[in-house]
């Protein structure tokens, strides 16, 4: 199944949710700003990339996790996706669109606006990462809801201790993150997330 997280600019909330989903960010604590900013694609996407599906990785259940930006038109994304899936005979069980905008707070909006729209990254990025920290557990809950809905995560889809244990790579981990989890046990994807990016 393809799980697609979408938000306005595809730079903060959807990236964070996808990173939580893939275990790149912890579920039991709020990550530091450095950890958040180190997530691939966090505060990176530009306006001319909106609409493109970025592949973030595969989760431990084998689901492919994507993210995209759809500006203020979630209905356009949903209608087009559903319509094209219908035309090409893709089952509705094969994809799951997740709107992350419900978890976005004002701080994130302000920081995101400064960083992405106005290009004041130095000011905007700390603000948006602070907002991300404030909204973090709401996003964790959203990801947990998504995981429990799509299934395939074993007995306890919500709590995954293997991502939280220090310096270990989970045995059943299928998203292929590079080794060397570091002291926090967090693992980050290499920029192969761009493999699906339009040239």
């Amino acid at each position: 199944m393809k799980i697609i997280y979408h938000c306005y600019g595809g730079a903060h909330s959807s990236v964070t949710a996808a990173a939580i989903h893939l275990g790149l960010l912890p579920e039991n604590r709020v990550p530091t700003r450095e950890e958040i900013c180190a997530v691939p694609l966090y505060d990176r996407q530009e306006a001319d990339e909106h609409g493109h599906f970025f592949f973030m990785g595969k989760d431990q259940a084998g689901h492919e996790v994507y993210l995209t930006a759809r500006r203020s038109r979630p209905e356009v994304l949903e209608n087009i996706f559903t319509g094209l899936a219908g035309i090409f005979g893709i089952s509705a069980d094969d994809y799951y669109l997740v709107n992350v905008m419900g978890e976005v707070n004002l701080t994130m909006k302000l920081g995101g606006f400064l960083s992405r729209r106005w290009g004041v990254v130095r000011v905007g990025r700390p603000i948006v990462s602070m907002g991300t920290q404030a909204a973090y557990f709401q996003m964790v809950k959203l990801v947990q809801r998504v995981k429990s809905k799509v299934g395939g995560y074993g007995e306890n889809p919500v709590f995954q201790p293997k991502h939280l244990s220090a310096g270990r790579s989970g045995g059943g981990d299928s998203h292929g993150t590079p080794d060397g989890g570091g002291e926090t046990g967090q693992k980050f994807l290499e920029p192969d997330v761009f493999e699906d990016q339009k040239k």
Binding site: E49, G51, L77, E78, I80, L84, I87, D196
Partner: protein
């Protein structure tokens, strides 16, 4: 054909052309670039060949009458004026539209699907 408030982006089937291509209409509601990227990316994500779908922007050459008609059509009392302007605009635009369809048909001989996007 009436497009409701939540319909932008909905892919509407219009039927088959003489060559058996399926023809669809798609309202993009001012998000042309994003819609193109969405469709392109969707095809790439599912490994669908580019020949399978041809996206044609039929609204690129919209004239003043059409745009004014679309604007007036939003307001209940001015809807008749909007309709009149839309018909006038379509009449003026008709030659270009028919040329566009001829070009598309000549290009898409082998493709199985054609979606026409319209603002």
């Amino acid at each position: 054909m009436k497009i409701k408030k939540n319909d932008p982006g909905k892919v509407l089937s219009l039927g088959k052309d003489a060559r058996g291509n399926d023809v669809y209409a798609l309202s993009v509601k001012g998000e042309r670039g994003m819609v193109y990227r969405l469709v392109d990316s969707f095809l790439g994500m599912y490994g669908i060949g580019e020949n399978e779908l041809s996206l044609v922007d039929s609204g690129a050459g919209d004239n003043f009458y059409l745009l004014a008609g679309l604007f007036f059509h939003r307001f209940h009392l001015l809807a008749p004026l909007g309709r009149y302007l839309i018909f006038t605009g379509l009449r003026k635009h008709y030659g270009r539209l028919s040329q566009l369809t001829v070009d598309v048909q000549s290009r898409s001989g082998k493709s199985s699907l054609t979606a026409e996007s319209k603002l």
